[in-house]
């Protein structure tokens, strides 16, 4: 039986006065892929950012309820947020590589962690590029600008860059929404391999994608968690009418 990695209890979030998340309680299991689906604007990204406290960077955000990672309350006053973000990596919708070389992008995380040793850094670069299945494509151009890569390559490099800080959890916010089908397939394949070692949470617009990559699926609607269950269950036999309407494409 796998452990629970992340759990939220009665979590609500407000942007100023506007409530974006409503009393969400959910357990995310380790070394599985959990997918969030739901129409645009229903709070999927917001919820994802709760999990590594990226919402702290947005002014006037207020949170009630609890969030535990490995049993530790991550909104505890004494918690080191920087350290939390090292353990819970994030991949964004749009590839956001630094305007630096491929190599420099990859060592950014490790070097802000104080790793200076060239050999160790080189090892990390090779290992993470292999993990992200992009080593062969970039090994001869590590010192070229990362922005010279194609969109799909850039996104896989973002995943490699997130892996380089050795997180336990990777949060992905629609990582393939801007990519062509071939690049999307590569990312999905990658997710499949990464779940051996990492807990993965992925937001996706694309229901087929959720069905293909995830073990569990959560359906969000208007800031509420409507249904959360095994992916096969959600897609074959959802309990709630709204979920069924959504996955059969009747709205959203």
């Amino acid at each position: 039986m796998k452990k629970i990695k992340i759990s939220t209890e009665d979590l609500s979030l407000y942007y100023s006065e506007k409530q974006a998340l409503k009393n969400i309680s959910m357990n995310i299991t380790e070394k599985q892929v959990t997918a969030f689906i739901g129409p645009s604007g229903c709070g999927k990204s917001t919820y994802l950012r709760v999990l590594n406290r990226m919402n702290d960077l947005i002014p006037n955000v207020r949170i009630t309820g609890k969030v535990f990672v490995d049993g530790v309350d991550i909104y505890d006053k004494n918690l080191d947020v920087v350290n939390l973000r090292k353990r819970i990596g994030m991949v964004f919708q749009k590839a956001n590589l630094f305007p630096k070389t491929i190599y420099e992008n990859l060592i950014y995380g490790p070097s802000i962690n104080g790793i200076r040793d060239k050999n160790i850094l080189n090892e990390i670069v090779e290992k993470t590029l292999n993990q992200a299945a992009i080593w062969d494509e970039v090994k001869d151009r590590l010192h070229e600008s990362a922005l010279s890569l194609s969109g799909g390559q850039q996104q896989r490099l973002c995943i490699a860059r997130a892996l380089a800080v050795k997180p336990d959890v990777i949060l992905m916010d629609e990582p393939a929404s801007a990519l062509d089908p071939l690049s999307t397939a590569k990312i999905e394949e990658l997710i499949h391999e990464l779940k051996e070692d990492y807990t993965i949470v992925i937001v996706t617009h694309n229901m087929q994608q959720a069905a293909r990559v995830s073990d569990k699926t959560a359906f969000f609607y208007l800031g509420e968690l409507i249904e959360f269950d095994n992916t096969t269950k959600i897609f074959t036999n959802p309990k709630v009418k709204q979920t069924e309407d959504y996955i059969t494409g009747r709205f959203g």
Partner: protein, 342 residues
């Protein structure tokens, strides 16, 4: 920091825009569209011509200034000669020759060496630029990355207000208050000196650098900050390793422009530098800058004299230096825009 635009929202707005693009095709079919277009077209044309004339007039003035300056200044090279702008060989009583680097145009043996004036200009402009870079970039980073929106809206106009203070007021303040304060503190050789002038200049240049730095940093997409924080970087690491490098060209352009302004600024140095044409690297000595020399002497010089043309020649040098500094800054900024930030 402006972090309301998270990547997810960008995507949403993008798709909305796409939908709007398809609307104009419907509008073309509208029976009203032709009428409106005719009326506006005449007006648009008129506005266009109006601004084209304005632009042309400005350009013509610059060219005229340029021609006038060069016509008068080149005369100096005929009358005085290039070497005389560098040194003057004075014959001593024992027939030996003493080489003088002096600006002494009204002497019976007039000396036109620009060396002390150039030294004076650099000895005020370089320290002023260094001081202003330190505080200006610091203020720009603070405004863009650290200040809460409320604090920024409050502080930015205040900083920009400094740039609007008449320089004669700043010069006067340095002359009276600043000089006295530092006279007690540092006990300089001359009460009015290059350092006092450089401080006065900083009041003008800090706002330039601060506000351009802020603009450059704020135009960096928020994605990069998110990427950095998402990898567990602190605010300081994000600023020093991602934001400042990404905004490097904009920040350097602001420093170059600030330097150009420091070289061209007149009133503050005229009032606060002491105006003695020393050749020195001692920042606590009086110096005389090129700008202050023109300002102080042009009123008294007899038109058509060597001295008159020499002052124009200094004007050419100043014009050329500031022109090229501005040009470089402009090129950097344009490149930055084209590359969409970096």
């Amino acid at each position: 920091m402006n972090q309301t635009n998270l990547p997810t929202e960008n995507q949403n707005t993008k798709t909305e825009i796409k939908e709007e693009i398809s609307i104009p095709t419907n509008m073309e079919l509208s029976p009203y569209s032709k009428k409106i277009a005719l009326g506006t077209r005449v007006k648009e044309k008129f506005i266009e011509i109006f601004f084209a004339i304005n632009g042309a007039v400005a350009l013509i003035f610059i060219v005229l200034i340029f021609i006038f300056l060069f016509k008068e200044g080149i005369q100096a090279l005929n009358d005085i000669g290039v070497l005389d702008f560098i040194y003057f060989d004075q014959v001593q009583f024992n027939d030996s020759i003493k080489r003088l680097y002096e600006w002494y145009p009204t002497s019976s043996e007039p000396r036109f060496s620009l060396v002390p004036l150039i030294v004076g200009t650099l000895l005020t402009a370089i320290p002023a630029t260094l001081i202003s870079t330190f505080f200006g970039v610091g203020a720009g980073v603070y405004l863009s990355e650290i200040a809460k929106p409320g604090a920024r809206e409050f502080l930015k106009p205040i900083i920009e207000l400094f740039a609007g203070i008449p320089t004669v007021v700043l010069g006067f303040l340095m002359l009276v208050v600043g000089a006295s304060f530092f006279n007690d503190l540092l006990e300089p050789t001359n009460r009015l000196n290059a350092f006092i002038a450089a401080l006065g200049l900083s009041f003008v240049i800090i706002p330039i650098i601060a506000s351009m730095t802020e603009d450059a940093l704020r135009s960096i997409p928020n994605d990069l900050r998110m990427a950095s924080y998402g990898l567990g970087a602190t605010k300081w690491q994000t600023v020093s390793k991602v934001i400042l490098p990404a905004g490097f060209s904009g920040v350097s352009a602001s420093i170059i422009l600030g330097f150009g302004r420091a070289i061209g600024e007149t009133m503050i140095v005229l009032m606060a530098s002491g105006n003695a044409a020393n050749i020195t690297t001692d920042i606590l000595l009086s110096v005389r800058t090129m700008t202050a020399t023109i300002a102080a002497e042009m009123g008294e010089v007899s038109q058509g004299s060597d001295h008159y043309y020499a002052l124009f020649f200094i004007g050419i040098i100043l014009f050329t230096i500031t022109f090229f500094l501005n040009l470089i800054a402009e090129i950097i900024i344009n490149k930055m825009r084209k590359k969409n930030v970096f």
